[in-house]
């Protein structure tokens, strides 16, 4: 992705989380298609995402603290078009 207007929301989530956490592993999936026609879905999709992230920064933190950090890193996106973000947050070794 070279220009902002070509990048998808999934790319943006990937970039922001990479910058914020330098994760060991990070998977971002757009699952909007699974929610077509449900509440929160909208034409064009990009509403429902699944993120699996493992990073050193989560070590010693509970689930609520980890997810709050992810939500904070994606504040603009959460206030924008993201309707749902399914999160799996792990530290190395978990």
């Amino acid at each position: 992705m070279t220009t902002a207007d070509k990048s998808t929301m999934a790319d943006r989530i990937h970039e922001k989380l990479t910058a914020a956490f330098q994760p060991e592993t990070l998977e971002v999936e757009d699952e909007s298609w699974r929610h077509e026609g449900h509440s929160g879905a909208r034409p064009g999709g990009e509403t429902h995402f699944k993120v699996e992230i493992m990073c050193e920064a989560f070590a010693g933190k509970n689930r609520v603290a980890r997810q709050r950090e992810v939500y904070r890193a994606l504040k603009d996106e959460m206030e924008g078009s993201i309707h749902a973000l399914e999160l799996s947050t792990r530290a190395p070794g978990e």
Binding site: H35, S39, V64, Q67, Y71, E79, A84, E86, L87, S88
Partner: protein, 113 residues
């Protein structure tokens, strides 16, 4: 009482029952898959809980996000403490931590065999 009436109302809801779920729709008719998942988990674990339908109240719907520092709904509170949203409740259920937490806090569960 704070100078934020919405926060006061949310706090009253949180304090009104041992287990309070802020959700979309009612426990009988959840209006969102994630709310529905948490209802199913709580029902399976066998705890009594109070559902607060945020769709009925735009102020609570927005206010709860700041109150909990958590941008999504559903949100589960147990004895006044924020437990988490759908992913956390599901993970805790699968690992057995959820039932343990209720037991530790002295909340009755009827294990659905």
């Amino acid at each position: 009482m704070s100078d934020n009436p919405t926060n006061d109302r949310i706090q009253q809801e949180v304090d009104s029952s041992d287990v309070v779920l802020f959700m979309k729709g009612s426990p009988i008719f959840p209006q969102c898959g994630f709310s529905s998942t948490v209802v199913q988990v709580l029902t399976h674990v066998g705890v009594k809980f109070k559902g607060v339908d945020v769709l009925q109240d735009p102020q609570i719907r927005e206010g709860i996000k700041q109150f909990s520092e958590w941008p999504t709904i559903p949100q589960l509170y147990v004895k006044g403490e924020f437990v988490g949203g759908c992913d956390i409740v599901r993970e805790m259920f699968e690992s057995g931590e959820l039932a343990t937490m209720f037991t530790d806090k002295g909340i009755d569960t009827e294990a659905a065999a």
